[in-house]
Amino acid sequence: MTTTETPDILHRILDYSARADPYPLYAELRETPVALQEDGSYVISAYRELTGILHDPHLSSDVRHLSRPMAAAEARTTPSFINLDPPEHDRLRRLAMRHFGPPHTPGLVTGMEPDLTAIVSGLIDHFAGKQQIDIVDDFAYPFPVTVICHLLGVPREDEPQFHVWVNAVIDSLDYDPKTDPKEKLDNGMQATTDLREYLGGLLEQRHGRPGGDLLTRLANDDGPDGRMTDDEIVSTANLLLIAGHETTVNLITNGMLTLLRHPRVLQRLRDEPDLIVPLVEELLRYEPPVHIIPWRAAYSDITVADTVIPKGSQIMLMLASGSRDPDRFHDPDRFDPDRQDNQHLGFGSGIHLCFGGPLARLETQIALTELVRRLDRPRLVADPPPYRPSPILRGPIHLHIEQSQ
């Protein structure tokens, strides 16, 4: 019952025309929670099956365990922990976590709150006098970029340079050799190389120097697990730089869009600022920034529901679909910040749960609270707004709004 070939739905989801509203297609896809594709890969789209497989130790994040090699750019470089399995994943993530969160550095993220608020206030100050604002370019992009640059120790003024590389890398994530021009992949691979070289250059200057930024601390710290190699540090920094802002841009923008589409919730948030806490959780369920984990590998045979996925198979995880599964969430297509028991898949689940989730939460909580507080009767200029190309990291490329003067 779970194994039917449904290539049409997946391709319709990946097609740009579905970007503004993929959710009806997800509903169709969920009718076959574990769907075998023509190319032998599997697509998993229902909540229980997704949480089951995310906690299944036979699911590998390492591309080397795919029986058919993958085209994506990531495949050729030293993998970061997001693309590794235990024990390597665990070791590298622990080493990185030493400088970001508990148990070694528990107060870092909450300690950033005043700085985050100041950055947000500064950006909103610049809205003054403008009748039309692009929430993406004027706010949701510069905010997390500034934060991640500061945290990592990457000069903010280099942003125009790495911005191009990051975009090319993300564009190549969903490269399909059958439909996409080879150029898309080549650009992504070149950008990966350039970005790594750039980060490697920064790292060289950090050895033996004091400093509170992550690059410097990774370069000089010797904990119980030893020290990361330079190659590992570059991979880690690469991951955190990309994931550290791209996803948050989309979360903030999706959040503003969702609030503008739900004016009563927006007004409630204005009146009850505490609502932001459950509201951001609901946002992570309802309009998450990461829609798809494009590939995982079956390290050995994996049984999901009634289906045995053979060793070496490629597996695509439709997280955003899982968070809209009516078998798990009551009235899943309703945006309800009062929702109880909201175990969404917005940050994934299992050992690869989003590394920067706590920071993304705080950034989005502050961003949306301040936007709602300070914007005067904001209105959407276009609904739906134009979207970025990626079906994986999904969000508007611009979100133009007008405010009263």
């Binding site: 906690h55 036979h58 050995s300």
Partner: protein
């Protein structure tokens, strides 16, 4: 009147009494109100004060971080109950449906939930147990006393019994830089619950943290000084140790004595019930109005050949309470079975130990993931070729998978390799010390010959 009418009337103005006002009792009361029970609700408890949480008592409280009085349980909702606290129940009359209290009061009920839990097993010599500096840890008063004794900077603490509670207390002592000796009759810590393989890991952990761990020894005497203060312990091998504090961590005794004349299937092993948490009477027949939940319940688990199992697990108390409460206010067809896979955790020596399933229901164990020397691993337990339990050390994120293996009676050893499977992984005998039963104690005799007159009589033994 139909049974639907009877149920409706009971839900609107029936009388429910809950005996045992701790975690299970409180959660049951909340569920009753959630489910629309508007009748009278009476909470009976032998301790004074509101229901409180016990796991922190052997952890956060003993480190000195959290005061013993600071573990009062949060409420999920208003329960609008009458509280009769500070006096234990001492009898249950099923002919007249009354709970007798030790102070002579009688409390009538239509349905009763028994959640009287367990108490700490005291040191077997009363005069020695009464010495200054000898502790058990079950209530917040116990924990407060022990915390004060630890804060005073004892020269050494002796922990008697290396089960979970004893091991956690030893861990806290080391965290507070207090010298500690752990005495355990079995060959290793935790071995009775998790078997020899994991017991060896637990022993390593203790020694690596500076615990003076003595296994295979029995403490024979706690000796006091002239002021009645504990100062020395004697072992069965003739050796002694000087210490200022002795913690007796020899497990618990189920609070069932008050039911000895009730006609229920109650004994030192708990109170037998069905998966719907309805108590059995002495003959093993199901009762209609008597429900059981928490540490004191002895409930069949279909996964484990329908054996009756008593669990002193936090989440078991919560889940049984919810099932019992739901069933108290539901018609037969709407009742739920309590079918959870047991889950347990312990925090010690910086390691999160978790288990799913029943590790004692196993003949073999295999390390399936991670590294035992690093104290980061998962071990699966199997019984006759199927997975029955799993234990993780700092690897809890995988346990949901093993829960699924248990639920689906997946083959043991698990056939498919994982990326972090140890190179030398192979099943070994689980090796529990001695003949291990899920509980012990002969407690009844059967009399009569014709099917119509066969009856069970309780045979209370001195323990």
């Amino acid at each position: 009147m139909t049974s639907a009418d009877t149920l409706k009337r009971f839900k609107s103005d029936g009388r429910v009494v809950i005996v045992g006002a701790s975690l299970a009792g409180l959660r049951a009361a909340e569920t009753l109100r959630d489910e629309g029970f508007t009748g009278s609700l009476t909470m009976i408890g032998d301790e004074l004060g509101e229901p409180y949480d016990r796991p922190p008592l052997s952890k956060q409280v003993l480190t000195g971080w959290v005061p013993a009085g600071g573990t009062t349980l949060p409420r999920r909702r208003d329960i609008n109950a009458e509280w009769l606290l500070g006096v234990p129940a001492d009898g249950l009359d099923l002919a007249t449906n009354h709970v007798h209290l030790a102070d002579g009061r009688e409390v009538p009920f239509d349905r009763v939930l028994i959640s009287t839990g367990v108490r700490a097993r005291p040191w077997f010599v009363e005069t020695e147990a009464a010495l200054d500096g000898v502790f058990v840890v079950r209530t917040r008063e116990h924990a407060e006393g022990l915390q004060r004794a630890l804060a005073a900077g004892p020269s050494r603490v002796l922990v008697i019994g290396a089960g979970f509670t004893g091991s956690e207390i030893a861990s806290i002592c080391r965290e507070r830089d207090i010298p500690v000796t752990v005495a355990e009759l079995a060959p290793a810590p935790l071995v009775g619950a998790l078997g020899a393989v994991i017991g060896d890991v637990a022993a390593d952990m203790q020694r690596a943290h500076g615990v003076d761990l003595r296994c295979g020894v029995k403490v024979t005497q706690l000796e006091g000084d002239a002021q009645g203060r504990f100062h020395r312990a004697h072992f069965d091998d003739g050796s002694t140790i000087d210490a200022d504090v002795a913690v007796v961590a020899l497990g618990g005794i189920r609070n069932t004595e008050w039911l000895r004349d009730s006609g229920l299937a109650a004994g030192p092993w708990g109170i037998a019930c069905d998966t719907g948490c309805r108590a059995l009477d002495l003959n093993g027949l199901i009762t209609d109005d008597i429900f059981v939940a928490g540490d004191v319940a002895r409930c069949p688990n279909p996964i484990y050949e329908y054996r009756l199992i008593s669990l002193e697990h936090w989440v078991n108390a919560v889940e049984q309470a919810q099932v019992a409460a739901h069933n108290m206010v539901s018609a037969q067809a709407d009742r739920w079975p309590h079918l959870s896979i047991p889950t347990f955790w312990s925090i010690q020596f910086g390691v999160n130990i978790k288990s799913v399933g029943v590790p004692t229901f196993a003949d073999e164990v295999v390390v399936t993931q991670g590294s035992v020397p690093d104290h980061r691993f998962v071990a699966a337990y199997g019984y006759q070729g199927r997975v029955t339990a799993a234990v993780s050390f700092n690897n809890a994120k995988w346990l949901d998978h093993y829960r699924q293996l248990i639920e689906t009676a997946a083959p043991f050893p698990p056939p498919c390799p994982t990326p972090d499977e140890p190179a030398d992984a192979k099943p070994v005998p689980v090796d529990f010390p001695g003949p291990r039963l899920l509980a012990q104690g002969a407690t009844v005799v059967v009399t009569g010959h014709d099917p119509g007159e066969r009856r069970v009589t309780a045979a209370w033994q001195h323990r």
